[in-house]
């Protein structure tokens, strides 16, 4: 059975904690879904709102706070709600890294009445424009709101992927599952392509594997056309069964262009923190940088005097400065660290034992 699905996702990406400013992206899309559960009828609407903060480095690690709300509804049923809040600790490194995290929240029909907890960890590796992520997550639903008597004395009950519909009493069962996932991405100019695979360990579900192929074509710095197709696993908290799906949509970036993001909240976050020169106009310089409380730039346009960059609230550091057309040189640093060359500039020997970046203003 095929049904039309409308997917609207609002994903807020925030500035470093010290900046306390918000930026974000908006995704709007629609497509077709063929649900694994036979006989279910009615159209389905899904939505997601997420936010994250990355603070400065603590003991060599970068802490991140994450929060999100997911909604789903059918025409004949009340809205299913899921929210979560948690944190992650990331190791530093532009090309490789690891993270560990935990989250708690709630899920239910009409209101989040069933508890949610999640433990997770992952690894990332960047090779030029390509990136590879692997992760492991353990998710539990229902432990805080569903008593043992509701479960017949059982501690856990694994829910198969023939899901109860929203409004069904059986939708408040307890469930635990472990997902092992991987995602490969590559950026080719204005195109981003990603391929994901998730395997669910344990449980009695018929469906244990999910995959997704997705692509983004950035037709403008802040406007991307998004396409995705795959087969999803059940979303227990939203009472959504697994489905084969295909969607197309548009992504609006309210600031620096984000890396590709999969529609599923269970896929890992963007990984790279390497500084990148993203704007060099005759009026302004902008650098997308790692989480930091302070950023500075110096170059031939400042007579090589360090100048503080200002956070713009969307993960970039900017400096209003007069830049004449032609070739310029610069270095940047964060939190008083080493002077470095951001990606987007040619790194050449500076003659002083370091590197300096060449860039061009037209």
């Amino acid at each position: 059975m095929t049904r039309a699905a409308l997917i609207a996702a609002l994903c807020l990406r925030t500035a470093p904690l010290a900046a306390l400013q918000l930026g974000g992206t908006v995704d709007l899309g629609a497509g077709q879904a063929a649900w694994d559960e036979a006989g279910a009828g009615g159209s389905l609407t899904l939505g997601a709102l997420g936010a994250s903060y990355r603070a400065g480095t603590i003991a060599g690690l970068e802490p991140e706070l994450l929060g999100g709300v997911d909604l789903s509804s059918e025409s004949a049923a009340r809205t299913a709600v899921q929210w979560s809040f948690g944190g992650r600790l990331h190791t530093r490194g532009a090309s490789t890294g690891a993270w560990l995290g935990a989250a708690f929240g709630g899920a239910g029909i009409g209101s989040p009445t069933s508890g949610l907890t999640r433990l997770e960890g992952g690894l990332r590796q960047a090779i030029g424009p390509a990136g590879l992520h692997v992760w492991l997550s353990r998710t539990s639903f229902g432990s805080s709101a569903v008593g043992a008597k509701d479960l017949g004395g059982a501690d856990t009950l694994t829910v198969i992927d023939t899901m109860p519909r929203p409004g069904s009493a059986s939708g408040r069962r307890l469930a635990e599952y472990t997902d092992v996932g991987s995602r490969a991405t590559i950026e080719l100019g204005s195109y981003e392509v990603g391929l994901s695979f998730v395997h669910r360990v344990g449980g009695t579900g018929v469906r244990r594997n999910a995959w997704e192929a997705s692509g983004v074509w950035w037709v403008a710095p802040s406007i991307g056309l998004v396409g995705a197709a795959g087969h999803s696993l059940p979303q227990f908290g939203l009472a959504v069964p697994g489905a084969r799906y295909g969607t197309v949509g548009i992504r609006l970036a309210l600031g620096a262009r984000p890396r590709s993001r999969a529609p599923s909240r269970e896929l890992p976050p963007p990984a790279t923190n390497a500084p990148r020169l993203v704007l060099a106009s005759q009026l302004r310089l902008a650098i997308a940088g790692p989480p930091a409380s302070r950023a500075e730039v110096m170059g031939d346009f400042t007579d090589w005097q360090p100048r503080a960059l200002e956070p713009d609230g969307v993960g970039r550091w900017t400096l209003p400065v007069a830049l004449s057309p032609g070739v310029h040189h610069l270095n940047v640093r964060f939190d008083g660290g080493e002077w470095t060359v951001p990606a987007g500039a040619v790194a050449v020997d500076d003659g002083f034992g370091g590197r300096v970046g060449l860039f061009v203003v037209r």
Partner: protein, 176 residues
């Protein structure tokens, strides 16, 4: 005779004052400053742009480099400018020389620079050379970037065509 000597001294003073860049005076020790100013004067006498030399000295000062190393770096920059002008020809404009020096540091060869001078826009080759450098900065390989620039030059592309090429091949960075 004394009057003539005084006149010569007075005539010489403005030149000496012009050679003393206040930025160098403020940020270099006197020994380093004198040696850098000598190099700057040499560049000026050869018709080469001097600002890149001043900037290299200021860069070294900000990075805490010792005086002799600053002088060496400025000498190296002067050599780059000379090499760029040799590849471009004696009539090269200052902005062309600066762009060519950057292209050479980004990986271009003197032969490449000479070739772009031969087939490039008649109004100057600063833009094609800068576009080459910018494409390399964007992650494109030197050979691929040069192929793109030289093909357009051989087709008779003007400066706007080179800027359009840059926008097509390097969309990740926002243009003004």
């Amino acid at each position: 005779m004394t009057g003539l000597l005084l006149c010569l001294i007075l005539l010489r003073l403005p030149t000496a004052a012009a050679a003393q860049d206040p930025r160098l005076t403020a940020r270099l020790d006197s020994t380093t400053r004198v040696r850098v100013e000598t190099l700057v004067s040499s560049a000026r006498d050869q018709g080469l742009p001097t600002e890149p030399l001043v900037q290299k000295a200021l860069e070294g000062a900000s990075k805490g480099a010792p005086g002799p190393r600053i002088v060496t770096a400025v000498e190296s920059t002067l050599a780059d400018l000379r090499r760029a002008r040799e590849a471009l020809g004696q009539r090269a404009a200052p902005d062309e020389i600066v762009a060519a020096a950057a292209a050479l540091r980004a990986g271009a060869t003197a032969t490449m620079v000479a070739e772009i001078r031969r087939v490039g826009p008649h109004g100057g080759v600063a833009v094609p050379l800068a576009v080459f450098t910018d494409l390399v900065a964007g992650g494109m390989g030197v050979d691929a970037a040069w192929r793109s620039v030289s093909e357009l030059a051989n087709r008779g592309g003007d400066n706007q065509a080179f800027l359009d090429l840059r926008d097509r091949l390097r969309p990740a960075m926002t243009s003004p």
